[in-house]
């Protein structure tokens, strides 16, 4: 019983490098090809890709269905926003602080939550989002309540005498792209390491993994924290891009969006998350679908994914890709 079964290794290694290279070229050239609105959609997709990568480690590799991602996303957004507004710290400090604080919050939340299984774990993680929203609404002296934080400055970098402010949409896009690429690389390294194989072992059969000497409890806790760090960094990007943070950052809609990205793209694959965030966030933004229609589409997608496409839509694309590559 898991959301992602170990996919058999299909022989298409020969096509992987050219694909990544082509994607990189398209990604780098995107602001010059598309309109400003397309660039904006891509930025939103990249922002959501970060928490989705974290969630993928949790759902796709370790087999824990969590809804708490929006809570850590919100913590990250508020941390970055508060630091930038009150202290004017450079962006990399804000992003690091956002990630670290989200991770630090994940430790005390994860210790009790990870004792629960299946549905209880889902309910508990949902509780974190609701309580996070309540704190953001009521801790008025810090978060300014429902008014939220506004006028968060554009990210700037300061290293010694050098300083640089990311002001335009295009330059923000390149910054988000760089962070997204780094995050993807980080996930790739985690998954490829022996730790990644242990995570998959936990997903496939926790008892068996434990019996083979995998410290399952420690692994689950660490993955929960890592996923929170990813969400926190994503939150800091969100705060700096939208320049506004409100208690609505903590909402189940964001958790659901991240779940759709991971499950739709294909849980347990890295390319799935990249593909999922482009498809579900980037495309729906770019097509200017009204929010209600988008959420109905998300809901229908969830149903279709659960009952018919258990491995997400990525295998469909993969089959197409194999056909082109002639490997199968």
């Amino acid at each position: 019983m898991s959301l992602a079964d170990t996919a058999q290794q299909i022989r298409r290694r020969d096509l992987r490098l050219p694909l990544v290279a082509a994607l990189l070229v398209v990604a780098l050239a995107a602001p010059f090809i598309g309109s400003r609105y397309v660039t904006h959609s891509l930025i939103i997709a990249l922002i959501f890709m970060l928490p989705a990568h974290g969630l993928n480690l949790l759902v796709g590799y370790t087999g824990l269905l969590s809804l708490a991602q929006a809570a850590f996303f919100g913590i990250g957004a508020y941390t970055a926003g508060l630091l930038a507004v009150h202290y004017g710290t450079p962006f990399y400090v804000n992003a690091a602080a956002a990630g670290l604080l989200a991770g630090a919050c994940a430790l005390p939340l994860g210790v009790p939550a990870l004792r629960l299984r299946a549905t209880s774990f889902v309910m508990c993680t949902l509780g974190f989002v609701i309580i996070g929203q309540a704190i953001a609404k009521n801790w008025i002296s810090v978060t300014r309540g429902d008014m939220g934080l506004s006028a968060i400055p554009k990210p700037h970098f300061a290293l010694g005498p050098l300083s640089f402010t990311v002001s335009g949409t295009t330059s923000f896009y390149y910054m988000a792209l760089a962070i997204g690429a780094l995050a993807t690389l980080a996930v790739w390294m985690i998954v490829r390491s022996p730790a990644g194989r242990n995570m998959i072992a936990i997903r496939e059969n926790e008892t068996l993994a434990e019996s083979l000497g995998v410290p399952t409890w420690r692994y689950k806790l660490i993955v929960f924290i890592i996923s929170a760090v990813f969400a926190g960094v994503g939150g800091s990007l969100y705060a700096h891009y939208l320049t506004v943070v409100s208690p609505l950052t903590f909402q189940m809609y964001y958790s659901t969006t991240m779940l759709i990205i991971v499950l739709g793209g294909g849980a347990g694959t890295i390319s799935g998350v990249v593909f999922g965030s482009l498809l579900f966030v980037g495309l729906t933004e770019a097509l200017r679908i009204t929010p209600e229609l988008r959420m109905i589409a998300y809901g229908l997608c969830l149903l279709v994914l659960v009952f018919w496409f258990k491995k997400g839509f990525a295998p469909v694309i993969n089959r197409f890709w194999d056909l082109i590559g002639g490997t199968k």
Partner: protein, 290 residues
């Protein structure tokens, strides 16, 4: 001072009755499907919208709008039950979570798309205060109390004595054995689900005159309130759910008065997390059933 406490407790019991009628459906659905229905509050919302539509557009009386609200929800629940809930028999827990989250998104946003996202004013109901034993209570609140008790007594009898209730209990104990002895599991699931959704809708219609405002997102909050109640009551336990709903209702109304209104909606989730930590099997049971 003392009378304020009594008044708040009475208010809490009214709120608790509303929660109880919604939560009992959810706990029964959990019993037969082993899945938390994250869309349960949406049927509450559908019931309210059906009644609002009947009063505002069709010009029907409040009594008739109760029937319209509940019947329209039953139709929706039948479709959802046939298409989705019946597929969840024997599916992993995660599939249930995701599928019901999907249903919640679809139902909620379809209603917002059709009727608009704004707050609507519900004009029906008995809002004149009645004076009983020195306390004045809106007629509608008394109606809620009056409806809640027979509903629970009826459910208790149904679960214990009727064929449907017996097969529900059987399915909640062992699906394979039910299939062996010839109980139509998908049918039991469908009937339980429709019953639960209809109860949620009834609760929604009864509360609408008290809440006054009707909006598309109202179901989500109810789902969130229902989760701690069914955990406290012990999953699948009808009587326990009733007591747990009363506890949460009273606790919320006391917290709203003495701590602050803004903390009212947090009580539920704080309770949920504490319950999951220390007594995940509920207040009234000594060992885990699920």
């Amino acid at each position: 001072m003392f009378s304020t406490i009594i008044e708040q407790i009475v208010n809490g019991i009214v709120t608790g009755s509303v929660y109880a009628i919604v939560a009992v459906g959810m706990t029964m659905i959990f019993g037969v499907l082993r899945a938390i229905n994250f869309a349960h509050g949406e049927y509450y919302m559908l019931g309210t919208f059906g009644a609002w539509f009947a009063v505002d557009y069709l010009g029907l009386s409040y009594e008739a709008s109760i029937i319209v609200g509940v019947l329209s929800t039953i139709v929706v629940a039948y479709v959802v039950g046939r298409l989705v809930m019946q597929r969840m028999v024997g599916a992993p827990a995660e599939a249930g979570v995701l599928a019901t989250l999907g249903i919640a998104l679809v139902l909620q946003n379809t209603v917002i798309l059709v009727f608009g996202g704004g707050y609507k004013f519900f004009s029906g109901g008995y809002i004149e205060p009645l004076s009983i034993l020195g306390f004045s209570l809106a007629g509608q609140r008394i109606l809620i109390l009056v409806v809640c008790l027979p509903v629970f007594i009826g459910l208790e009898f149904m679960v214990t004595y009727s064929r449907m209730g017996k097969s529900m209990r059987a399915v909640s104990q062992n699906v394979e054995c039910c299939e062996v002895v010839g109980i139509d599991v998908p049918k039991v699931v469908l009937h339980t689900f429709i019953l639960g959704a209809a109860l949620a809708a009834l609760s929604g219609v009864l509360t609408a005159p008290v809440n006054v405002s009707v909006y598309g997102g109202m179901g989500e909050l109810i789902t969130f309130k229902t989760l701690p109640i069914i955990i406290m009551g012990g999953l699948g336990n009808v009587r326990g759910t009733f007591v747990a709903a009363m506890i949460l209702g009273i606790a919320e109304s006391l917290v709203a008065t003495y701590v602050g209104l803004q903390f009212r909606d947090t009580v539920g989730f704080a309770t949920l997390i504490l319950m999951l930590m220390w007594r995940p099997y509920g207040l009234f049971s000594t060992q885990a059933r699920f």
